[in-house]
Symmetry: C2
Subunit: 314 residues, 2 copies
């Protein structure tokens, strides 16, 4: 890549979603008078009696959490997806109103939502967990994913973590969510399409080819610990993000040509621990826009230590 | 639409972008322990000597603002798009590396960014402006749009407003931005494609047909005043949003079949003046998700008064 790209606006192509992103690196230099987030680095206890995710506490529905020692999985008490809704009277096929209903299409979607606590400790995050601790989390992910193959109304399993209140997380207790659905979600459909197209043209896997361009990596638990720890080290704060796993649908079809397990991290901080990058006007209306190039972002992470900035305090 | 849709999860189709949205209306009932925004209803002066948008003040580059009386247009001092960047040495066509560069594609994009102040008054918003005031704004939009036809490196004009610090706006002075680009942005491409497809199939305009399903409306200035005022009245606060205009590209091609002027409003508030709906984990990783149905949202706006809640205070 040409070095000029760090200084001038250009567009980047995302081959995975088959879409473009506006990249305006010089924008990061503008002064910021907008919203400042408050730092969340107050001391929180290892067990919080008010937390509905801590061991032995009770949840919204009155159920008592077990005295768990690594991970704990339960059904989300406020699930966005359920499987027992009544058959909706949807008039998509109403003959008298064919063209209208094709515009206002509605589709039933069944599914289920789970919560996975990463640790009994209320005040820890993945960034500070050991690789062995993280392996328990990966095992919980794997188990839910594998079980879903036998649930007929589930075709896709979306595992994701919102970390930090700035990313909509309402409880600091380390946890992620699993929303499993009958439908294949939009982002996944785009990826499946791009992967198929690439496979048909090149007879190889798009993500495997992309991986060759990046550094080789070790095992998943190590990768996750490493990246979350480096994020925390950038601004020496508990770095917020949304993270999620993309893998093959569980629809019992062959996905060797269009799926390849990978994780996405969406970090909202760019300038400092308290100023976030807003995805608003232009981003919502026109096209995603970045203030730094991907190469520069990668170089920042590469320069960060793998040792957590708090580790000598503990 | 069946009334059950207000209570059970389902998927909605957006014919304009050809994509699906997960709709989980019962989710709005869950308790919220997450981030609370602070209300911005502190008294702000009609003229702020520190504001770089107020009349007679100086801007970042030292230029003095004129003593304007309705709108004021100037070039963004921190433009995301410029037109004088050097020709980048992009190796997309490097024969030795064909498959790799097709993955990491980069494209030059020229353009320009403008700021339009809506009013000399620092402490007003569109919601509180008169229809005559708003006509001046619409005239400024129209002028920029029309002038762009003769600028060869501009093919699309994106006009948008970020209102409220929660939407990334760094200055309460009423203003919008115009980012004009050589490339047709992603969201626009999607719309052009959907409109073309609909036109070819039905020999009519998708948005015109959609409009027939909704209420008829008056002129643009009235519509804009009406909707922003109703938003403010929902929670009796200065309601934040990102708003933007979509219209035909200015690439001097025929767009009678794939374009139809329309506005999008993206409001972040749902539960109250201080709790926003986060578009995070599932939304970033899988699919947009709504906590209320579009019909319910419309009914809330319909119930709101057209008279601004502050108007008897002024
Ligand atoms: O130009 P502004 O108002 O400083 O910037 C705002 O709008 C831009 C366009 O939507 C976004 O990219 C920025 O993140 C946001 O803070
Ligand atoms: O389920 P939670 O953590 O309350 O909710 C959070 O994640 C969801 C999935 O990304 C979002 O829809 C919500 O807006 C966000 O606050």
């Amino acid at each position: 890549m040409n070095v000029e790209l760090d200084n001038y606006p250009h567009r980047r192509f995302n081959p995975l979603t088959n879409s473009w992103i506006l990249c305006s690196p010089h924008r990061a230099k503008r002064p910021w008078q907008g919203q400042q987030e408050t730092l969340e680095d107050k001391v929180i206890p290892e067990h919080d009696s008010q937390c509905y995710l801590c061991p032995r506490n009770s949840r919204a529905n009155g159920n008592l959490n077990p005295n768990y020692s690594n991970t704990f999985v339960f059904d989300n008490d406020y699930a966005a997806l359920i499987n027992n809704q009544p058959k909706l009277l949807i008039d998509n096929d109403d003959e008298s109103n064919k063209s209208l209903s094709s515009l206002l299409k509605v589709e039933i979607v069944r599914g289920e939502c789970k919560v996975i606590c990463f640790s009994p400790k209320h005040n820890i995050t993945i960034a500070e967990m050991t690789e062995e601790d993280i392996i328990h989390v990966i095992q919980a992910w794997t188990k839910i994913y594998q079980n879903s193959f036998s649930i007929p109304f589930i075709n896709y399993v979306q595992i994701f973590e919102n970390k930090g209140s700035i990313m909509g997380c309402s409880n600091p207790h380390p946890h992620c969510q699993v929303w499993s659905s009958e439908s294949i979600p939009e982002e996944i459909s785009k990826e499946l399409k791009s992967m198929t197209k690439y496979y048909e043209k090149n007879n190889s896997c798009l993500l495997y080819e992309l991986e060759k361009v990046e550094n080789g990596q070790k095992d998943l638990s190590n990768i996750i610990r490493n990246i979350t720890c480096r994020y925390d080290n950038i601004f020496q704060c508990s770095f917020p993000y949304s993270m999620g796993i993309h893998q093959a649908p569980v629809d019992n079809m062959n996905h060797s040509h269009d799926s390849h397990l990978h994780l996405h991290f969406y970090p909202p901080l760019l300038r400092s621990a308290t100023v976030k990058k807003f995805l608003v006007g232009y981003e919502l209306l026109a096209e995603p826009q970045r203030d730094i190039t991907p190469e520069y972002a990668a170089s920042i992470l590469q320069k960060c230590s793998e040792i957590h900035y708090k580790s000598n305090i503990h």
